[in-house]
């Protein structure tokens, strides 16, 4: 119950900030920027406290469940938004980023009952590296998605020769293109570290009869495909100049997001080595048995 209240607290703050972003389209205000920074900061603070609370009081380590994973990704995106709000207060980046943040929080709340990741692997150092770098890769791809959508919107406006709208000021195409390109590269690096971390973790925990590289696991398979896709996209963009200019960069980012979304859906809805919905009853029974053993001592 307390966890739901906590999530509602910072989610509500973010929703208020989103409402203020929308209000920019309607009327001007000299103090709205400061209020937005205050609300976003307060929400991020509550979010930080919540994650810390979960890390300290929940068995396991941070990022050991899909809920934590989604909330950590939302936290990172919100931190980026707050930075951009502070240094680029005139732009309406929040209209694109905040719905993604709220979407991640909603996913975390909705899928709170999904089986967490197996505790032992998650608690090892390589488990933390594996989880954290995959979160970073996802955050980077989501930022790329937001930048890509803004790029397409801005291009359409400029092609239609429409002037700046009331309140809806987006970054320049050059900034958005650069952000897109960097997002893909950072996502690739983080994903690479995550995949490598997963392979090392697998080697440490390897049991006889188990696959060293469990390609039959849908989440693992989709992540590796995503890694190869991103590698190809980055190599092509570095080798072929047009691929890192204009709309081509955006299309690469959007396709990357499709891979990410597919991986996320698989992780949440299928039975995988990283937990999953179908195993929820089995996991609850196992958890009860473990607790009983601990009590017996």
């Amino acid at each position: 119950m307390l966890s739901r209240v906590g999530i509602i607290c910072f989610a509500a703050s973010y929703a208020i900030v989103l409402a203020m972003e929308v209000s920019r389209l309607v009327f001007r205000s000299g103090i709205r920027g400061a209020i937005m920074i205050a609300w976003a900061g307060a929400g991020l603070f509550a979010h930080t406290v919540y994650l810390y609370y979960r890390a300290v009081n929940t068995t396991g380590v941070p990022l050991s469940s899909w809920q934590d994973w989604c909330l950590a990704a939302a936290w990172a995106l919100m931190a980026v938004y707050l930075y951009l709000l502070f240094f680029h207060p005139q732009t309406s980046i929040g209209l694109f980023l905040l719905p993604i943040v709220l979407g991640l929080i909603a996913t975390a709340a909705f899928f709170a009952g999904v089986t967490p990741f197996p505790r032992e692997p998650a608690s090892k150092v390589w488990g933390v590296i594996h989880g954290a770098s995959l979160v970073a890769a996802a955050v980077s791809m989501l930022l790329g998605l937001a930048a890509g959508l803004m790029y397409l919107w801005q291009t359409r406006r400029l092609k239609q020769k429409r002037p700046l709208g009331q309140g809806l000021r987006l970054p320049s195409l050059e900034w958005l293109q650069r952000t897109n390109h960097r997002a893909i590269i950072i996502a690739l690096i983080m994903l690479g570290i995550g995949v490598l971390g997963g392979m090392i973790l697998n080697s440490i925990d390897h049991r006889p009869g188990q696959d060293r590289l469990p390609l039959s696991d849908p989440l693992v398979l989709s992540t590796i495909i995503m890694f190869f896709w991103l590698s190809a996209a980055v190599v092509v963009s570095l080798a072929y100049k047009p691929a890192r200019q204009g709309r081509k960069v955006v299309y690469l980012t959007l396709i990357s997001f499709v891979f990410l979304a597919a991986a996320l859906v698989m992780g949440l809805s299928l039975d995988t080595r990283h937990g999953g919905r179908r195993n929820i009853e089995k996991s609850n029974v196992q958890e009860r048995e473990r607790q009983e053993k601990l009590e017996k001592g």
Binding site: R28, S29, G30, Q154, R157, L158, K159, K161, P163, L164, Q166, L170, P171, S172, L173, E174, W175, Q177, R178, K241, P242, Q245, G246, R247, K248
Partner: protein
């Protein structure tokens, strides 16, 4: 009293304004001379391409008259005072405050909302401060003017709405495409005022790689140093298009100089880099179909004029709101100004009556040592009530007169009648 004397684009032709203008080198000399001619008067000199104004203030109400100010300007520039006096205006007190606030907020500019004037007002104020020509009166009014200008800038969109073609091109469209201009290659095809004006805005944004192409290489070479660029021959046009990030075209040729087929040939060499084309030629220099190519943003003079008209309409909508802010800030400033003028007198009057009251009370209580505390309190309260009943009428008169301006005559009369001292 505060006063402004000057001329502007509203009532004075540019030829006379140019003769009356002060260069940055002349301004300190002018302020120095002003201090010698009018020693008890603070002054700030504002000289821009559209106005020349002297803001002056004096505690002792010794601001120069219109004739004196005209003589000062005429003497400094070697002109005939009789010729310039008819072009000068004079505003005093509240009208002068409102005028300064309006000027600083760019609401009196030739292009309303242009942002340069605020910087010019700040610079004029800072120069006068360095020359020690300012005092408490001008400090407070200029600080209030800067505050009013910031309010107008943050609470209205008036500065965001550009209304000249080159400024719309660069600010409304160019800056939406490019984050920076210092690493962009600008190609100028042709010549003309519009191209020069657009280049000015681009150079302000940091653009410095400029290539000039003209059918006459000699003409391009003449323009190159003037526009801080390099000239190339006409037959290198396509190579220039391949490397350009931004093109400004004003040839006014009878038919397009770049057709779709020509552009498609150089497209591959561009590697999909965004291209911003300002086709300011009439008729158009670029085939409109080029604007449909991916990553090409082509704007004709009609497109930009349409944007200008839209911006002007939006700016006109913002103007009443901006003037309401000016009215509010002027009223606030004048209330504080009058209060500042009247407050010392009120304080002196209070002190002047309190002192004798305290002395008399002390003398009476000493003469009646057997009074109990209750009686003493009653007597003290009676004396207080007596003074409090005598004070309100003159204070109310002061406040009533203040609503019409600083009541100097009444303040002097009170000071004389009651022998008020600082």
């Amino acid at each position: 009293m505060l006063q402004v004397v000057g001329c502007s684009h509203h009532n004075t032709a540019i030829e006379l304004r140019e003769k009356l203008a002060f260069s940055p080198a002349q301004t300190p000399d002018a302020l120095d001379r002003w201090r010698r001619v009018f020693p008890r008067t603070e002054a700030v000199l504002l000289s821009t391409c559209n106005r020349v104004e002297i803001y002056s203030a004096s505690e002792a109400d010794v601001e120069p008259s219109l004739e004196q100010a005209a003589s000062f300007l005429a003497d400094f520039h070697g002109l005939d005072a009789k010729l310039i006096i008819q072009h000068l205006y004079l505003h005093s007190d509240e009208a002068a405050v409102r005028h300064l606030f309006t000027v600083a907020s760019s609401l009196d500019s030739m292009v309303v909302g242009e942002p340069q004037i605020l910087g010019q007002v700040k610079e004029a104020y800072q120069t006068a401060m360095l020359q020690e020509n300012t005092g408490p009166l001008l400090h407070s009014v200029f600080q209030a003017a800067l505050h009013a200008a910031r309010r107008v800038a943050s609470e209205t969109a008036i500065h965001q709405r550009r209304v000249s073609i080159p400024s719309v091109a660069v600010a409304d469209f160019g800056r939406q495409i490019f984050e920076r201009f210092d690493d962009k290659h600008v190609v100028v095809i042709g010549a003309g005022e519009m191209a020069a004006e657009t280049l000015r805005y681009l150079r302000e944004e940091g653009a410095h790689q400029i290539t000039i192409i003209n059918r006459s290489f000699q003409r391009a070479s003449e323009l190159a140093p003037h526009w801080h660029g390099r000239a190339i021959a006409w037959d290198q046009l396509h190579e220039a298009l391949a490397t350009a990030d931004l093109i400004v075209s004003t040839t006014g040729a009878g038919e397009p100089i770049v057709r779709l087929a020509d552009f498609q040939r150089i497209e591959r060499a561009r590697f999909g880099r965004p291209l911003f084309i300002l086709d300011l030629g009439v008729p158009r220099d670029f085939d409109p179909a080029i604007g449909a190519r991916p990553d090409v943003y082509l704007y004709s003079i009609d497109d930009l004029q349409e944007a200008c008209l839209r911006n002007k309409a939006l700016r006109d909508k913002e103007f009443p709101h901006a003037m309401r802010i000016i009215d509010q800030e002027t009223a606030l400033f004048m209330t504080e100004w009058r209060h500042r003028a009247v407050a010392p007198v009120i304080e002196q009057l209070r002190r002047g009556w309190r002192k004798p009251m305290e002395d008399e009370l002390k003398r009476l209580l000493n003469k009646l040592p057997n009074l109990d505390d209750r009686a003493r309190d009653e007597i003290r309260q009676s004396f207080d009530r007596l003074v409090n009943k005598l004070l309100p009428p003159p204070l109310e008169s002061l406040r009533d007169e203040s609503s019409r301006g600083v009541p100097r005559a009444l303040i002097e009369a009170l000071a004389k009648l009651f022998k008020l001292k600082d």
